[in-house]
Subunit: 342 residues, 4 copies
Amino acid sequence: MQKVGIVGASGYSGEVLIELLARHPRVSELHVASRTHAGKSVREVLPRLDGIAGDLEFIAADPNGLSKLNIPIWFLALPHGVSAEYAVPLSEAGALVIDLSADFRLNSAETYAEYYGHAHPFPDKLQDVPYLLPELRCKGWKKATLIACPGCYPTSVLIPLLPLLKEKLVDGEGIIINSMSGISGAGKKETLFYSFCERQDSAVPYGLGCHRHLAEIEEQLSMAARKSIQVQFTPHLVPMSRGILSTIVLPGRTKTGTTEIISCWEKAYQSKPGVRILKDGGQPDTRQVLGKNRIDLAAFHDKRTGNLILTSAIDNLMKGASGQAVQIMNLRKGWPEFAGLA
Amino acid sequence: MQKVGIVGASGYSGEVLIELLARHPRVSELHVASRTHAGKSVREVLPRLDGIAGDLEFIAADPNGLSKLNIPIWFLALPHGVSAEYAVPLSEAGALVIDLSADFRLNSAETYAEYYGHAHPFPDKLQDVPYLLPELRCKGWKKATLIACPGCYPTSVLIPLLPLLKEKLVDGEGIIINSMSGISGAGKKETLFYSFCERQDSAVPYGLGCHRHLAEIEEQLSMAARKSIQVQFTPHLVPMSRGILSTIVLPGRTKTGTTEIISCWEKAYQSKPGVRILKDGGQPDTRQVLGKNRIDLAAFHDKRTGNLILTSAIDNLMKGASGQAVQIMNLRKGWPEFAGLA
Amino acid sequence: MQKVGIVGASGYSGEVLIELLARHPRVSELHVASRTHAGKSVREVLPRLDGIAGDLEFIAADPNGLSKLNIPIWFLALPHGVSAEYAVPLSEAGALVIDLSADFRLNSAETYAEYYGHAHPFPDKLQDVPYLLPELRCKGWKKATLIACPGCYPTSVLIPLLPLLKEKLVDGEGIIINSMSGISGAGKKETLFYSFCERQDSAVPYGLGCHRHLAEIEEQLSMAARKSIQVQFTPHLVPMSRGILSTIVLPGRTKTGTTEIISCWEKAYQSKPGVRILKDGGQPDTRQVLGKNRIDLAAFHDKRTGNLILTSAIDNLMKGASGQAVQIMNLRKGWPEFAGLA
Amino acid sequence: MQKVGIVGASGYSGEVLIELLARHPRVSELHVASRTHAGKSVREVLPRLDGIAGDLEFIAADPNGLSKLNIPIWFLALPHGVSAEYAVPLSEAGALVIDLSADFRLNSAETYAEYYGHAHPFPDKLQDVPYLLPELRCKGWKKATLIACPGCYPTSVLIPLLPLLKEKLVDGEGIIINSMSGISGAGKKETLFYSFCERQDSAVPYGLGCHRHLAEIEEQLSMAARKSIQVQFTPHLVPMSRGILSTIVLPGRTKTGTTEIISCWEKAYQSKPGVRILKDGGQPDTRQVLGKNRIDLAAFHDKRTGNLILTSAIDNLMKGASGQAVQIMNLRKGWPEFAGLA
């Protein structure tokens, strides 16, 4: 049994983290820190969680103060740029820090500066922080005290693609990714654009060619393929609260058929409860993963065009954020991988 | 002023047709025929239209009976396979027939049989029936008495692509189309799959590599490019009532930039109120075309990847069906192109 | 043919007003003024209207400047408190002013101050401005140059109740009104509460016992009954863009049955296309009035309890605001009552 | 640790039951029986549950066969009329049977016949089966082997009203209940009415004066008040998947103010995690109870009208069905009341 803390718990992924950790069988105590809600109770700020979080109160989110609390596991659900200021002192103070932000997802400080518009505050750390997709354990994950939790779009893209690249079933050239996301992906927003009336009946692309998640997608794909890979990534907003659906087209340059893809996935994800491989023409549907820490995958080799189409669905707040973060904790602590996630 | 008839007026596109035609300044009388609702009033079957359709009653949908009514313009909002049985006798009896079904959209009887699963009842007619996108008037449209109204997905794809292919700004190789559609695209359905609870929070691909609209997309693209063109077309259902958003990726083999694309569109669609070309990074949004007989277009040349991304949005029941059908009537009768469509 | 102007055209009811007036057969020219968008084009601020509004630009919303434009009809789609500053000079300059705000809906300056929190700027005017439900023409409507357009909730409540009170079929004691509204009723809002994720799956009451529309409901009911009437009015927000559904319970103190109610309504609303009376157990459904300038009504006398239940549905932006405002213009100008509204 | 079975597990409440029981800390084995899916796996019929239910398969739903399995706890998520055929043999065979259907909710066989249209198959049993709201433990709940789980609307109405009637804070005359429900309340339906396009933007009343839940609401209220109580109950469908919001108006005949109501509730529901009492003007919101086994309550005494307004929100599939059924099991087995429900 462990004490666990969350910094930045008032956003959508913070709310899900509290829910998951409050009923986690190995978590004895939960602490929540907030930069804006210190002194308020969780039930006041997040009334849906009344009855789950007891009398839990937000404490002040001062990195040094939090370091002294001797909490051995911290989750950071903070905006990029802010998260690093907590990640470094907390992990240096000996805690396991699982960072849901983008601050330590990239290896390259240059790429970070290009996509996030400011220099990385701890460029020397970047190489050491593992980017951990729990199903595809990376080098260093067992010892790291600071772990980067993959982004929502990247999770939906990397789980289908990485094993195929590693096994050289596909060559990684000319990959076209179209994703559609529910609106919680944007966080809690106070703008007209995210209002109900503006989003109902709206499907709209955004961030063409420059979405920040593109950087981590390409970096991870390139590492798996051991060569530089560029993809075309076009995200879209569609009128749902939660969920990401990704449709990935690989132009038909290989002879790889649906069977080989499925076999490769089955080998890579054997007995992983977080990955469901659909066969016989079934297609991933975001509704079928709602509230679940799972990715649904399907592959279709179009014999007519020669193209390969991979599709995936996740809940952006579960497998795309908080569920995955808890899965990382479980793995790192040697607990059952899906403890608290059923 | 003309009398106008609709066969199959009780579906979603039929309902919109009645709305548009009842307020059309050149339509003096409206007749509606139904295979299942003969004898009932429009207000009983489609209560939203009460007050628009007066005491209008559905008459029986017998092709021969309808032919004798001397109604000079007919709209067919019928399922494929059924529509042809009306289209031929009505047009042979001298009426202008605008067919919203897929029955006469293809030139090739072979392709029809392959995609629709049965032999075409009038294969000899196929070559003569124009497939009319009003903004891109095709050969024969001025004299034809039977006109095929393009499908919803094809409209969203062909308007951005056809001028580029005709002008050889793009070569047509390796085109990847991802579309997302509102649920009315499936028609009035009595199945669990289309129920509110199953569709809310659901984004799901379907018809991979075999959707029927693929046939007309490829036939039209091939005609424009004067060579055989194959595309990868993946439609998706997303939780909205109306709207189609298409994202088209053309792999980076040409030097064509955004400016050239925009110029080509501006030339092709100069002073067409049904086409809105977005510049300065704006993206089409299905909400912005809701209830409008318009397509919104944007182009983005990704310098990093070399790929060209075209995006478009329509209301599937307006520019994707009934609005476009009325626009065809206007054009064919020499009326202002947007009469009744503002 | 007349020139028409709108002040405050960038909100949801302003947008619908532009749509309706741009295609109105008697409107020759449309002018739009905005306090925040002067100099911008309508197509830029309200892209959905591109193609409808041509090159129309927002002009500055200075009351004196607008007065000098010699535009004979003005619609005010402004917040309460602001609207009066335009209504008075424009109407005094000789224009017909149709005010969609609440500024001149009440007769009592005292009630205005109580509900709106500030003194009315023109208390002496209040008695002279007719509150015009087009189906129930009030005293003075034919000559007034300033007319108050009823609010959305009040319209849904007054149309079913007023004739019954006037005819003394019900006594007005103990009326309980529960209404549910789509989210556009709140206007264009930049707050978390109105964001898509917070509204999806949310039904919530608000404004218990103090909603501003309560004041005009009671004032109108009291005038019709010629005695003071108090009602219990509880509005709710439900996750839809548009629509109001009101369920009104009148405790069982009279012998009035469903038949008498229907007869009374039929007499009051004979040949009014804006009122649809449902019989045989049908119930009003907001979807069936979407985009329509109509109210649907039903009555049910529960023999078991003795209570009478009246239900109504409107589109809050049409019969509840902009459609009704256009209907008022038509009526006042002697044009067909539904010109431009079909 | 106990073995538990569910009959009728393929509907919406069945699905939630499987989720809850699969992660319940006291449930060692889960068995699911289905009248239509015997032989299929849960993951095939309810793909969202893949990973939760392991290789669980639906077994045949033969009442006698199931009786012989020696499963000590059964949940019945079956249609009314069918449920009784399982409830009696299973409970007579010694199991604890928690019936989510309406079959044993009423005491009066006459009322059952009136509201359900057929004679009750076991009229003699009706008096013996407790109707158990876990927060308000009724006579006989400790020993009963067959327990009726309250309906969704009744739960939202009885929890606020019962303590007030028992304590005679309100007299029960003239109660007006308006409820709005999400669409899952109707079950899995294959009809046009429940399709996405028909429900979006639709708020509609139904079942006026005759909804089946009216019978159990009145029976329970009458028992608490020790006199016959009649209410006016009007349910509405609104476009959301889950949730019930009830607004209850009690005409102003008592001097009871908000403070007395809150005190009475606090006394009745002291330390009950399933009841959250809102103060300071907060209102229940279905979104805030989504996925939670909780009811949110508020009271407002309108001094102007004298009326008392009680509002409540539940998730119809949790506190309104499956969550409450699990809570009943916990209570009956002496386990922590919220085991498996956090």
